[in-house]
Structure formats: structure tokens, C-alpha cells
Subunit: 433 residues, 2 copies
């Protein structure tokens, strides 16, 4: 196996030793920040207490609310003058979350992204079109720096303007694209509208991430474009892209354990879940100097995939994100994750590329309505045929989520199409109260 | 004087010697491209002919049309696999103009931008908000890489969302901003609307460029924000930003002659204009390896400013761009540059931040109509007062451009506001023909 970085093939013991050293360094570094000086003192944790990767359990958790309360600079472990980059969330609900990086932090991040892309089969000879938004959002610049580090011919396409995206894919013989999964599906229908076969492009790899999606969505993307699509995971609090990435075996995402110490906990008890079970991912930065973060509660639900990966990389794999600990829908007393609905919908051949889950209240009763786009060839005038499709969808969903949603079939391209992360759930239960 | 790069203070002879060596290298490098192999052969120029900076005159010109005809890769002097970045124009009128860079090209570019920003007084301790569009447009990533190279805390704000821009300027104590001049004026009125004094921010420097503007616009920006505003010059064919930049004396832009060989020619005869006269700027890359460009006709009109700059930098200064050789308005047989109109308008205290020049046809007669926003405090109900303002504007414009335009006074914030380069001239003469 060809690796980009020798750290990819450290054995388990070597990784744990490295984690112990880097965790100690990180805790030492963190005490330079206002926030951690206080929070570590409250938890009575001192640097000499940290001698093993397992000592992570002594540290207090960090939450998004902590980051917001310290807005903008309370987490800085070095003088602001040493920082060269600021990223921030949009802050539509409260203070933005601000993450700052030194030049060294940016270098390490670019290396992690380059390693990640290489791990998915991208090489320096590839032509790479980055269809992520640039600017404060980390998906754009994060992947961009990594692609250049790897040596790809990098096209900073940004989001939107689908016709231009298609022209660039063709004219520049693009072989690798970075794209949000819902936009990949939408772009497929723009190809259709233009009468161009997406498989006639030179694409061989698509890197998809930035929003949770099902295996069925991946299969559709691979089918539409005739590519291998690789899942990726990252979040701005942990730099952005480059936290975990799939290798050629597409069996979960290798989480780079030399850079992040990962735990999976029960979001209620905050204790580790048994090995292989799903829980909330908690991450600690191991290499960040400007703004280290300890035990960050990502709210993302996943599990460690047991066993070794055939690729030979020793870094443990996490499963695709099945939801967020705070996006669970509770309806009629049943817990449902939107990803369960998506998984069923995308396995049905008649279903098109877009859907919306709408939560409503009828009298005192909550109700789920699923609006589903149907492929043109199935959207026929025959009411009986449409009724059959409707019943089929309702039946399959009931089997998975145990309640019976209302199903509205709509025509291709009639549901709102976002160009960023898709909005899949609309909660109208509180309206008109 | 503190310089970022020792090349800034080479003496004239050293610059010319360096140019001779680099020009020879560049011509040698260029012959590896399809386009220049043919064009240099047609002009019977061989590498051994190039032994002095003055031998530039032997080389053929390159135009935007040449770049378009060679779309996308006909100018490459190295294999595509060596390239790591692609920038392109929008291609709304014909094929896009594509510029490609090796990693080394990007490094040199970042150094030039860092040097430019340093020359305008920016330091590594500054907090820098980049309000340029990221992606394929070179203003965003170009300045971004330079700011990081200089060591500034760089905020990749991107364009638009004025309220958020203002929040960031305040919350992050931003000391330097990069902004398009027309947007700087617009943002000033958003500050007004929000009841916030732009001078209460921590801003000390604004880098303004990407669109030609008058000295009066600069003065207004300095006045509104209480900053020093520095003019800059660049174009994507020559990388983007970082071709020429003002120093603290604000007396023209030092053109980095170790990286670009500059000529000013008569766009009709293609001969050099006499020293100090205005003509079309022609530029040759001296350090670019992936895609060298020889004698590029920028279409931008400027002149070399005679004499030495008090700052001690030896690189000659170009004057602010007064227009483009192809944007001259011909009306009633008179040649007018939009910049002449702007200069007058912005010198009138009653005039607000926005204006549009509209060319119309009445019967067989061409006519110029200038729509001008008036500051709120002058937009009163008193028709006689408004009439006076109208007459004053018409009179001052007639003195400058020799024809009498119609003047429409409109209220603050009623003319269309672009968030990118401002559209100042609307030609309606061919409509309804």
C-alpha cells in the first residue's frame, strides 16, 4: 500500500504512545487559554496527571456553548498576533463559533487533508474541482489547501452556477470533484436537462461530505457519474475536512488518530459506550497549538467499526454519521432519525433525488408528512399507479420507523433545492399555536 | 525604511540587469508552449537575441483574444500535471481566460502580495478582513495567500452580507480591510443605517482596488472610515493582485519590476509613448514558470510617474488607471472616459455614493444622462435648491467633458448597488433600433 504519511501505518501501540505524548502537550498548551486554565483547575487536572491516552477520561468536556460563551478569543492558547486564519460559523443562532489557526496549524491541517485525499485514491496528476463554498466555511479553503499540498491541479469553483460547473468538468477534463451529496444529485438532473451524460465526463472520484447521507445516496451518486464516491468527515471545531476519510475499500472512515483522540460516549450518561456501539463522537485535538480543544462533544452519532481494514491503515474507522444527538425527531413517542427515512426512500427506484420531512400537528396529534420527488418516467397520469407507489413508500417507511407518515408524491424538480447543505426536516408543529 | 524583500531597494541598474536575465529565461520558458513556439518563430525571435531589458521590443504582443483562442491549455509551458491552481474569467463573452500556476508560481505570487501589503504599512500583527470574492476570481485567494504569508490574522469574509461584515469588523477588532471601492462607499451607508460610526471601528488601513476609481473616491473612503486607503493594481493574466501597490506616500503605485517588465504604449501605433505620458500598460511576466506571458496588452490606461518616490523604493510608479483603451465613450464626436465623470461627481459635497452614466439616443442625437444619488441632508422638498444642485453638476461636468449631460437627481440608495465591480455605464443607444 502506498501511503502519503508514515503515520498512517503506525501500529496500535505506536499510535497510543504518540497520543499520550501529544495529549500531555495539548493539555499543557491548553492551560495557556483563559477558558481551560479555569476549567482544568475546576476539574483539578494538572499536566503531570496525563501520562497515557486513557487519561483523557480525567478531562472535562467542551461544548459548542463553551465556544460561544468565550466568543471570540477566550480559547486562544497563544497571542492573537501568532494567528493567521480565522474561521467562523454564521452565528444565525447566537454568537458565532470562532476557530483560529497559526501557520503551523494550517500546515498540519493541509497535510491531513492531503493524506485524506490520497487515501481515497487522489493523486498529484489529478485535476480537482472544488465545489465547496470558500470563505469562512471550512469546507472550501480546507480542502483547497490539502489538494494543492497533494499537488492536484486545483480549480476553486465554489458553489452554484451548475451550467458553469458542468462546462468546467468537461473543458478541464476534471478527474476528481469535491461536492456536497445533495448537490451531486441536483447537478445530475442539470446534466439531464442539458442532455449531457455525466458518465461522459472524465470524472473518476467524487469526495462527498459536509452533510450526513446514506449508503443509498452514495450508490446513486456512483451510478449517475460512473465514479467511486468517498465519504468524509470533519467539522470546523476540529479544523474542518480531514478528520476522517474513507480509503479505497469504502468501509467506514479512518479517523486520523495521530491528530485527534476520539471517544464515543452515551450522550445521556457521558460514559463510553461498549465497543462497536453507536454513540456521540467526542474529539480532542492532538496537534493544534493556537486553539487546542479538549473532549469536544460533536453531537454527531456514529460508532467505531470493529476489526482491521484490508487497506492496512491502523487508524480506526468510524461509521457514516447516522444523525446528531440533537436532531432526533420525537413523534407520537417514537424516536426517529431523518437518516432512517432517507435510507428507505433512496432504496426505492421510483423515488427521485429530493425529499422533505414535514412535521405537522392535526388537533392534538403530531403527524409526519414526507414529500417525495418521483422520477419523470414514473410520474404518469395513471392515478392507480401513483397510488401503488405511495402505498409502497408508506409501507417500507412504517417497517423502519414504526409510524405511518402521510406521503405526497411530487414531480421532479418541484421541491426547493438548496445549494449548500440540504434542509430535510421542516417542523411546523408549533405554527399557529 | 523597512522593506519586506531586498528586491524593493535594488537600484535601477540592478533591476535592469535582473530583468535582462529573467526576460531571457522567460522567453526560453515560453518557447515550451504551443502558442509561443509558433508566435516567436513567426516573429523570428530566438532566445540568444534577448540580452537586455530593451530587447523586449523584439517580442510580439499577446492579447486577451490570444488567450481565448488557446483555451484552455495552449499557453502552458510545463506539463499540466505540474500545475496546482487554475483561475478563470467568467467567460460571459466568449471562452473564459484561463491562467494556471505551479506551486512555485503560487509562492512567488504570495510573496509579491505580502510585499505589497507590507509596502502599504500592513504588518503581521494586523487583523485583516478580506472582503473579496473567493474562488475563481483572483482577488480573493490572491490577497488571502499574501496576507497569511505576511502573518496577518486573516479573515476570509468574502463578499456581501454587509451587516455581518460590520459585526466582524467590530468583534474581531479588524485593523486592515481589503475592499472594492464602490462597496466601501456602500458599506458606509449601511453603517449609517445601523447608526454605527465607521470611525469607531479599529480600522487603520483599507486596501482598495479591483476597479478603477478616482482620487476623490479615495478621499471619501478615508473620510468615512478614518483610515488611510491604498490603491492597488493587478489583473488575473498577471496573477491577480500584487502587480503594483501604493506605499505610505500614496503617490502612485510601485510596479514590481523584478517580477514584471512594464511598457506604456500608444494603443494605435503600438510604439512607446514619451516618458510620463499616458498610454496602454503592457506587461511581461518575469518569474512565472507554468504560464509565462509576453507583452500582454492590458488595455488599462496609465502613465509612469516621473521622479523618485520619497519612500526610497526604486520600482517605478504607475498612476491610477484612468480607464481602459476599450471603455472610452464616444458621444457627439467627443471622447470621454467614465473616470472623468466620476472625478467631478465625487468632488461635489452634495453628491452621494452612487451614480450611473446612461447613454441614450433621441432621434438621431446621442445623449448622456447621469443619474446621481444625492445625500439625504440635501435631498429636500425645495425644488429650487435641487435645481441649483442639478445646474452645478451639469456645469462642472461640461467644463470637464465638453458636452452637457442631462442630470437626474435621485435619493440615497435608489440606484442599483452591485456587490462586485460597479457597473457605471449603461449604453441604451442601440435599444429599439
Amino acid at each position: 500500500m502506498q501511503v502519503f504519511d508514515r503515520h498512517e501505518v503506525l501500529d496500535r501501540k505506536e499510535i497510543e504512545n504518540l497520543q499520550a505524548i501529544r495529549l500531555k502537550n495539548t493539555v499543557h498548551q491548553a492551560t495557556a487559554s483563559t477558558f481551560y486554565r479555569n476549567s482544568l483547575a475546576r476539574a483539578s487536572v494538572k499536566v503531570p496527571d496525563i501520562n497515557s491516552h486513557e487519561d483523557i477520561a480525567r478531562l472535562p468536556f467542551t461544548t459548542k456553548e463553551d465556544l460561544r460563551e468565550q466568543y471570540p478569543f477566550g480559547f486562544l492558547a497563544m497571542p492573537k498576533e501568532k494567528m493567521v486564519r480565522l474561521h467562523a460559523s454564521s452565528g444565525t443562532t447566537g454568537s458565532p463559533t470562532v476557530i483560529l489557526h497559526t501557520q503551523n496549524d494550517l500546515n498540519v491541517w493541509a497535510d491531513l487533508v492531503a493524506r485524506s485525499m490520497h487515501c481515497a485514491g487522489v493523486r498529484s496528476s489529478d485535476v480537482f474541482q472544488n465545489m465547496s463554498g470558500y470563505g469562512l466555511f471550512t469546507g472550501g479553503l480546507g480542502i483547497h489547501y490539502g489538494a494543492e499540498r497533494l499537488g492536484c491541479l486545483t480549480i476553486p469553483a465554489g458553489v452554484g452556477n451548475s451550467k458553469r460547473q458542468i462546462k468546467m468538468l468537461g473543458d478541464y477534463k476534471v478527474s476528481v470533484a469535491h461536492i456536497i451529496p445533495s448537490y451531486a444529485l441536483h447537478l445530475g438532473s442539470v446534466f439531464d436537462d442539458q442532455g449531457v451524460d455525466p458518465r461522459s465526463m472524465h470524472l473518476r472520484i467524487m469526495l462527498i461530505g459536509a452533510e450526513p447521507h446514506s449508503e443509498e445516496i452514495r450508490s446513486r451518486i456512483q451510478e449517475i457519474y460512473g465514479v467511486r464516491a468517498y465519504n468524509s468527515y470533519g467539522l470546523s471545531e476540529m479544523n474542518g475536512p480531514g478528520v476522517a476519510f474513507e480509503c479505497e475499500y469504502q468501509t467506514g472512515m479512518h479517523l486520523w488518530e495521530d491528530a485527534y483522540l476520539a471517544e464515543i460516549i452515551d450522550p445521556e450518561t457521558l460514559e463510553p459506550v461498549p465497543q462497536g456501539q453507536t454513540g456521540e463522537l467526542v474529539l480532542t485535538t492532538l496537534t493544534r497549538e493556537g486553539m487546542p480543544i479538549l473532549r469536544y462533544r460533536t453531537r454527531d452519532l456514529t460508532r467505531f467499526i470493529p476489526g482491521e481494514c484490508p487497506c492496512g491503515r491502523s487508524h480506526r474507522r468510524i461509521d457514516r454519521i447516522t444523525g446528531r444527538s440533537d436532531d432526533m425527531i420525537v413523534i407520537k413517542g417514537v424516536n426517529i432519525y431523518p437518516m432512517q427515512v432517507e435510507k428507505i426512500l433512496m432504496s426505492i427506484p421510483e423515488v427521485g433525488q429530493n425529499y422533505i420531512i414535514q412535521l405537522e400537528r392535526q388537533g392534538h396529534m403530531d403527524q409526519m408528512r414526507v414529500k417525495v420527488e418521483i422520477r419523470d418516467e414514473f410520474f404518469v397520469e395513471d392515478m392507480r399507479r401513483l397510488q401503488q407507489i405511495q402505498n409502497k413508500i408508506a409501507g417500507l417507511l412504517r417497517e423502519e420507523i414504526l409510524i405511518s407518515p402521510k406521503i405526497d408524491l411530487v414531480e421532479h424538480n418541484t421541491l426547493p433545492q438548496s445549494q449548500g447543505k440540504a434542509t430535510r426536516v421542516v417542523d411546523k408543529r408549533e405554527e399557529g399555536k
